[in-house]
Symmetry: C2
Subunit: 148 residues, 2 copies
């Protein structure tokens, strides 16, 4: 696992990538969120991923609190997203939106819809003060309270 | 580079990860967006990254159209984000928001602010139809036109 791969980086994006930046990590989480995968075999079959890699990723997700283990009624262990894991949804949706735009010549392979009404889900950037959507290049990064 | 690492996956998030899923990729793009980095040495010094890795990433960014090469007035080659590269901003902001919440015990190290008014930038999910923010677990994935 990446662990402290970006040790010099005092940046929350780098910290997040240390948790979910390894190959397959975000696709495993995507299948937990949207394909109903909970069991080792479900992840393995839907992703076609090597079992040793899948095992390592799932163990890391438990260790880092993105998933928790639950025994199902039939005794099989299930890997269930925690709120911390579910909160990675905007990362997956941001990647999907970019891929839909630049890497989906035949149109979006997957649509993300609101379960309640079927409407398309969109992701927006907004300024909390003036409520405008920032134009490209109009976001600046400044040191926050956690900057060492 | 990841290239066709997720070949079985008909998913825009996987396609995006094939372009920017390698270690350091998103942090190089972050520094291009927010730290003003354009030159090889600027990226190298700010990230402390091995020069062979940085070279490979920048060449891939050119090849995949996230950056373009421009000669500066002093003749030095600069790596400049294209619109396609700049459009990865929501991915970096989504990672940062998650890291601020779960991996920044001393508060956000970096604040993202609107250059025009200084307001904090927030990212929202919204349903295009009912305009509600979807609750956790209330987004469903369905096959779109690009699903094979």
């Amino acid at each position: 696992m990446l662990g402290r791969a970006y040790e010099r980086e005092n940046c929350s994006a780098a910290r997040a990538l240390e948790v979910i930046g390894e190959r397959w990590s975000l696709l495993i989480l995507r299948n937990a969120m949207y394909a109903g995968s909970r069991r080792f075999n479900q992840f393995q079959r839907s992703l076609g991923i090597a079992t040793n890699i899948l095992q390592a990723r799932l163990e890391w997700f438990i260790e880092s609190g993105l998933m928790e283990l639950r025994a199902a009624a039939d005794g099989v262990q299930e890997y269930v997203l925690t709120a911390k894991g579910q909160d990675l949804e905007p990362v997956i949706l941001a990647l999907s939106a970019w891929g839909d735009r630049y890497a989906a010549p035949e149109g979006p392979p997957i649509r993300y819809q609101h379960a309640q009404c079927g409407g398309a889900i969109r992701q927006h950037l907004e300024c909390e003060t003036c409520h405008e959507a920032p134009k490209p290049g109009a976001i600046m990064a400044t040191p926050g309270p956690g900057m060492s």
